[in-house]
């Protein structure tokens, strides 16, 4: 049944009207009033379908028998001496019968007196929800201005401006209004800064022509409360995709938590929108606003700003706490929190440094395709700083100053992982390392370096060797390496325990190189470059050398020197040669008579310097110092000798 039939039935009796109202009370209708030169048709809509048309016309066109005229089955015309008076009565009658959520008036500017229409709509009860004015092409500036000024007299209604024509010189203020502009190519940054509306939606048909930088300027100005304080919702559409970084540049925001997600649900505009996936920003006046930058599949972009006005941020005045409480707060912070706090001001940096000096923080660095700094506190709390290569496109990243480097993009992988993005990874590593090493009582525990094409290895080695602090445990991964860099690594005095898998060139030699007491515990996997001369003096405590190119005689000579006690620091050495034709007799010549030597079959562990060796089936040899050392021979499955381990003295075996 159409709306006209329903209306006519309601006229039959009050009982019928009551029944009808009861029946349709759960249905949401929309009422649309279209005003043009001749008449005001009222259209009742349900789900975008026209259910009926009700016209209001002047008495001149009334037929002699009735004040109502039935046109077709879904049209009804009312007549009156005053069209607006008739329209008011019709509006009230229809709303009495049909529950209408949306009550829209659409007026064309050609109707002579828009002012009169607006005055009329302001008298309606219940109020209209939307008022649309359609301005025709080729209007004069005066007329355009007249229409706009008239619109500013509307109260509590969404004002829709549908006009391809515009005059940017016309002063538009829209103080406290809800203003929706379909063709918005005329809207400039100056307009936005001047508008004083509550809801401002621009460009649903034709977008604004503003640049990302201008949008950024507007956002910054809004957040600083230097624009209208009325704005609650804004949608700003552009006919292109936006660069999110440019739009959000310099803003301080956080992601919207699930519990903070809200629907607009007010004024009937942007009703499908929420702040989900948006950014939460604290404004200067401590109101919270939410910003979304959306690039749509159709090539358009939209900037959304929501401010519910009821969310106010209340800061915690940290620096006004008593000193003891401030100390408690900072000491209770996780490492990442304390680090970030230290970047806020020199005073806070001083506090963090002072309060954290009593704790020992272990530092572990992994260098692979990117650089990871792991900080580990004694209570096992952990935080990671990732120094990543700056990708070509980096969206929605905040920026901050780290050391001497400004505007470094960063994000939090989770609350314990801070990822910073650098054009030069080594510069990033240097800045971050400087910051954390100055701030915390750092104990540089572990360094793992794996050669990777994404990082300039020379710079890595320069940086590592340039840090110039003792590192407890260093691991260089597999791969060939430039001889100069290899030389830099083996000559570093800062690597206490070091495992080097790297391979220098076949011809690499370093005649001056000696294992000093700085090379406490070293494991060299590709030791083909080591000569007897390199082993003529050893200050190390533990050495494992693999793939050595020594002859039997050279090994023998070295072992003979060893048992003289020439290397007082040395407690364990393992020598593995690059061949399997080693003569056990030749290398032990003059050291012990293997045929008659007693084999010690006990399992004696060597648990020092992190090693857990089980020395078994070894031969004990008396040294010139009077101490005894143990020789352990390594054979393959065929009984061929691969190498030898010597533990000196064997009192280190338990």
């Amino acid at each position: 049944m159409g709306a006209v039939q329903m209306y006519l039935i309601s006229l039959c009796s009050s009982k019928m009207k009551r029944l009808l109202k009861k029946y349709i009370s759960q249905i949401n209708f929309d009422l649309q009033i279209e005003i043009d030169e001749s008449s005001a048709p009222f259209i009742i809509r349900l789900n975008d379908d026209d259910l009926g048309f009700f016209f209001v016309e002047s008495l001149q066109q009334q037929c002699p028998h009735t004040d109502k005229q039935l046109g077709s089955f879904n049209e009804l015309t009312f007549f009156g001496s005053d069209v607006f008076h008739g329209a008011t009565k019709t509006y009230e009658t229809l709303l009495d019968l049909f529950p209408c959520q949306g009550r829209t008036c659409i007026a064309e500017d050609v109707c002579d007196d828009i002012q009169k229409v607006i005055e009329w709509t302001n008298t309606l009860s219940p109020e209209l929800t939307d008022f649309t004015v359609e301005i025709q092409d080729n209007v004069t500036e005066d007329h355009y201005s007249y229409v706009i000024k008239s619109l500013e007299q509307l109260h509590s209604v969404n004002i829709h401006l549908n006009s391809k024509q515009y005059f940017s010189t016309v002063d538009i203020d829209m103080k406290g209004k809800r203003f929706l502009v379909y063709h918005a190519e005329w809207v400039t940054l100056d307009h936005l800064l001047k508008f004083d509306g509550v809801v401002m939606c621009f460009g649903s048909s034709l977008g604004v022509k503003m640049t990302d930088k201008e949008m950024n300027t507007f956002l910054k100005t809004y957040i600083q409360n230097e624009t209208s304080g009325n704005l609650e919702y804004m949608s700003l559409a552009v006919d292109r995709h936006m660069d999110k970084n440019a739009v959000l540049d310099g803003l301080v925001w956080s992601e919207v938590e699930e519990e903070d997600v809200r629907m607009i649900g007010k004024y009937g505009v942007l009703h499908d929108e929420t702040n989900k996936n948006g950014l939460r920003i604290v404004m200067k006046n401590r109101e919270i606003c939410y910003v979304r930058v959306i690039n749509c599949k159709d090539g358009r972009g939209v900037l959304l700003i929501f401010n519910w006005k009821d969310e106010v941020f209340k800061p915690f005045p940290l620096l006004r706490l008593p000193y003891v409480a401030l100390q408690h707060v900072i000491k209770s912070m996780k490492l990442m929190g304390a680090f970030n706090l230290s970047l806020c001001s020199p005073t806070l940096r001083h506090f963090v440094k002072f309060f954290f000096k009593s704790g020992t923080i272990k530092l572990l660095i992994d260098i692979t395709g990117y650089i990871v700094f792991r900080l580990k506190a004694s209570n096992e709390s952990l935080c990671l700083f990732e120094i990543c290569k700056h990708p070509e496109i980096l969206e929605r990243c905040m920026k901050m100053k780290i050391g001497n480097a400004s505007r470094i993009p960063l994000d939090y992988h989770d609350s314990r992982v801070l990822r910073t993005f650098w054009r030069d990874l080594i510069k990033g590593a240097t800045e971050v390392y400087t910051q954390i090493s100055e701030l915390f009582n750092i104990h540089f525990e572990n360094l793992i370096v794996k050669k990777n094409d994404t990082i300039d290895y020379g710079s890595v080695v320069d940086w590592i060797t340039g840090i110039n602090v003792p590192i407890k445990d260093v691991h260089f991964g597999r791969g060939t390496v430039d001889d100069t860099l290899y030389s830099q690594i083996i000559n570093s005095k800062n690597f206490q325990k070091c495992i080097i898998h790297q391979t220098p060139s076949e011809n690499f030699k370093s005649p001056e190189f000696r294992f000093t007491d700085a090379h406490v515990n070293w494991e060299v996997y590709n030791a083909h470059w080591i000569t007897l001369e390199n082993l003529s003096d050893i200050g190390s405590s533990c050495l494992i050398l693999k793939n050595l190119r020594l002859t039997n005689q050279e090994v023998n000579l070295f072992l003979r020197t060893l048992i003289t006690g020439k290397f007082p620091n040395l407690e364990m050495i393992e020598i593995r040669l690059n061949r399997r034709d080693i003569s056990q007799t030749a290398i032990m010549d003059g050291i012990t008579d293997l045929e008659n030597a007693e084999v010690n079959r006990d399992v004696r562990p060597f648990h020092r310097y992190g090693w857990r060796l089980n020395v078994e089936n070894s031969v004990d040899v008396r040294m010139a110092t009077g101490e005894t050392c143990s020789f352990l021979f390594h054979n393959d499955e065929n009984g061929l000798l691969l190498g030898i381990t010597v533990v000196i003295p064997n009192s280190n075996l338990f």
């Binding site: 301080v252 925001w253 956080s254 604290v282 941020f313 209340k314 800061p315 915690f316 005045p317 940290l318 620096l319 006004r320 706490l321 008593p322 003891v324 409480a325 408690h328 707060v329 900072i330 000491k331 209770s332 912070m333 996780k334 490492l335 990442m336 929190g337 304390a338 970030n340 706090l341 970047l343 806020c344 001001s345 020199p346 005073t347 806070l348 309060f355 954290f356 009593s358 704790g359 506190a377 004694s378 209570n379 709390s381 905040m398 901050m400 960063l410 939090y412 989770d414 609350s415």
Partner: protein, 201 residues
């Protein structure tokens, strides 16, 4: 306010031992009165010493005026005594000096501290003033947790921290306020330098 009308901190009756316990009366700076058990008071080193020094008997507690706590308002004191009653009898933790400190916030404490930042600030002040170690620990931990996942710029907002410029300006203002003569001397020195004088004296 009469003793009968004084607001009393909720106490779990079942938890009260059969033998008669002494309940002290305290008054906040806005004249709100609280009755707090002897055992709960032990959580506060300051109050514990105070009542020990006073040496009140049960009769004194009822007959003498409530002990005034001048620096704390009723709303804050209510939270403090609620906390003390809930944690009465618990050992007072000793700081082991580890950094970062590990502090777990129990469910009761988390609910108690589900308050706005202004009141939380007062609660920390009170915990510090009354020397309630564990309340200070948990309340400060709650403030420390606000820093999680925040950038320095965000922390400035969260903790109402001055920017670098504001910090510098405040320092300058403080220096000037502290020693106006020093400023005058400095200005005079600058003036002489501009005039090309080599010696100040």
């Amino acid at each position: 306010m009469s003793v009968e009308n004084a607001p009393v901190v909720d106490v779990d009756e079942a938890a009260i031992p059969v033998e008669k316990k002494m309940y002290y009366r305290f008054e906040s700076n806005d004249k709100k009165e609280f009755r707090v058990s002897e055992l709960a008071i032990q959580q506060s080193e300051t109050l514990n010493r105070l009542v020990e020094a006073m040496g009140y008997t049960s009769e004194d507690v009822e007959n003498k005026p409530a002990i005034a706590i001048e620096n704390i308002d009723g709303k804050t004191l209510k939270l403090v005594f609620q906390w003390c009653e809930h944690h009465k009898g618990e050992a007072i933790p000793v700081d082991d000096g580890s950094v970062p400190k590990i502090v777990e916030i129990p469910e009761f404490d988390a609910k108690l501290m589900d308050i706005d930042n202004g009141l939380l600030f007062k609660l920390i002040w009170a915990a510090d003033y009354l020397n309630i170690v564990q309340l200070l620990n948990v309340s400060c931990k709650k403030v420390a947790n606000m820093a999680q996942g925040k950038t320095p710029a965000q922390l400035r907002r969260v903790y109402l921290l001055p920017s670098d410029e504001e910090d510098e300006a405040a320092k300058r203002a403080a220096q000037e306020a502290q020693d106006p003569r020093a400023r005058e001397v400095e200005e005079e020195f600058e003036e002489r330098k501009r005039q090309g004088g080599n010696s100040f004296f």
